[in-house]
């Protein structure tokens, strides 16, 4: 298969000879630069289907590789390795090993939806990024990302009480990710926050921390949501072949 993806050329496969003469022609230095060929045999033919089965990944098959997503991408502007178009290409061609080289940055999608706005094929690249991070975690290729820890902490509170309380989320998230709560910049922020606040408001904020805000009449919804979440988790795992149904 001819290489038609610049990103598939690994820097370590670029070879240059300082002194080289071929058929009497001196091609020393950059004249002799060539790409060492390599053979990819371990295509994962299920990868696209599996990612398409997870929420957000449904429309990955529509992609025609125009690159509008990467061109519009907020994170790509900070880190050129963050390349949604390329990852969609790798997923659709089953190049799992190549995708895994970027496994630790895919979760960094900030969900700004500039890609979704730009996409002419309604691929929903933002959703594909989320589905891909999910896939990487479920398959055990990566640890749970900080972002997923945050989402889980947040969602758990919403499911339980119908609402969130930010202080509790921050504490819960830092605990889950083993980070210190007393970071310099957070302390400074709180100092600036309380500078002008009247005692009464501070007292109310303290109370919100103690008495967790709750949506009245949430009980029924809590049960319904929890049941649905469990059902979805099971079906996602099944789609990825993680829990084979017992054979009878």
């Amino acid at each position: 298969m001819p290489i038609h993806e610049k990103q598939l050329i690994r820097p370590e496969n670029l070879v240059t000879h300082d002194e080289l003469v071929i058929d009497g022609v001196d091609v020393s230095g950059h004249w002799s630069t060539f790409i060492e060929s390599r053979v990819v045999t371990d295509y994962n033919e299920d990868m696209e289907t599996e990612i398409a089965a997870l929420p957000g990944g449904e429309h990955i098959h529509r992609c025609w590789q125009c690159g509008s997503c990467t061109n519009a991408c907020t994170v790509n502007a900070l880190n050129e390795r963050f390349n949604p178009r390329f990852w969609i290409y790798l997923i659709r061609t089953g190049m799992e090993e190549e995708l895994l080289r970027d496994k630790d940055i895919i979760w960094q999608c900030v969900s700004c939806n500039k890609c979704t706005y730009a996409c002419p094929r309604d691929v929903n690249p933002e959703g594909v990024m989320k589905a891909t991070s999910h896939w990487l975690e479920l398959k055990g290729h990566t640890e749970k990302s900080p972002s997923m820890h945050f989402d889980e902490e947040f969602a758990a509170q919403v499911f339980k009480t119908g609402k969130i309380e930010e202080g509790r989320i921050i504490r819960g998230f830092f605990k889950r990710t083993n980070q210190a709560l007393m970071q310099d910049w957070l302390v400074e922020m709180v100092k600036r926050l309380v500078r002008h606040l009247p005692v009464k408001l501070l007292f109310m904020m303290g109370m919100a921390n103690l008495a967790r805000p709750k949506t009245r009449g949430w009980g029924g919804a809590e049960a319904a949501v929890n049941e649905y979440v469990a059902e979805r988790e099971a079906s996602n795992r099944k789609a990825l072949g993680l829990d084979k149904e017992p054979t009878t």
Binding site: C112, A155, G162, R192, L193
Partner: protein, 309 residues
Amino acid sequence: MNEIKQQSVAYYPGCALEGSGHAYDRSTRAVAEALGLGLVEVENWNCCGAMEVKNIDPKLQTYLSSRVMSIAKEEMGFDQVMAPCNGCYHNLKKAEYDLANDEESVEVTERLSEKAGHATYKAGGIETIHALDWIKNTIGEDGLSKRIKKSLKDVKIANYYGCMYTRPRHIFPEKDQGPGSESTSQPHFMDDLLAAAGADIVDYPLKTACCGGAHTLSDSDTSTKLVVNLLRAAEAVGADVIATECPTCHSGLEMHQVRAEKVHDIKTDVKIVYFTQLLGLALGLSPRKVGLHENISDSLGFFKQKGLA
């Protein structure tokens, strides 16, 4: 009662406005009172799912948002629900779109609503509007400029709309409909309102850029970089103030302005203020009434100097 109801909208503050965005809630209510607009808070509202629940399952976010619309419509009888928070506004709009176009979303919402014991929300039942639509469509620029007591004339403002107010475009079918409608690529409702309040609006190229709000804590370095970009760009075009209309953007800008200073030694001085706080000051309300003291970004001295506080 009926007459009040006709002028009122159902008000969905959302979780952030009970916490870090309390100044936005306070100033929204103060501006409503000053303009004679009725706000009736949605009873027993719940979280819309914010930016997190969709990553667990998007259809759950649809259900959560539909419950808010169901209460506002079926139990309270409103035709419009107003959300000042971009996240809430976006999620209600997204739920509306999904319930009108995706059968599976309808099925899940029906099933969960039935089990939870409330009426199922049906697409087309209620119109979700942003605080910007609400003031623009009820009072308008002319009505607003007539009520201005202290013009914002010496205040240079960069209007920052963030991501969720305009993207993805398909969930905002009323936008990009020609003159008078909001634009998804160059939103201008906040520019229009603050200009009517006398402000000197600067041309801000990053009005719909991302602040990294989704990863404020989980990927702080990325968020700080994005926020520093926004702050520096605003200062480069001469803005004194960045006007915000989203509590996530607002607190993201405030937090990472502090973080950039403490962690990266990058200092910026542009003030971060909710557009409702700016309108409130222009309507003659006190800084305390619009919650200026609840912001982390300290703008009180600046507004005093300009004779607005």
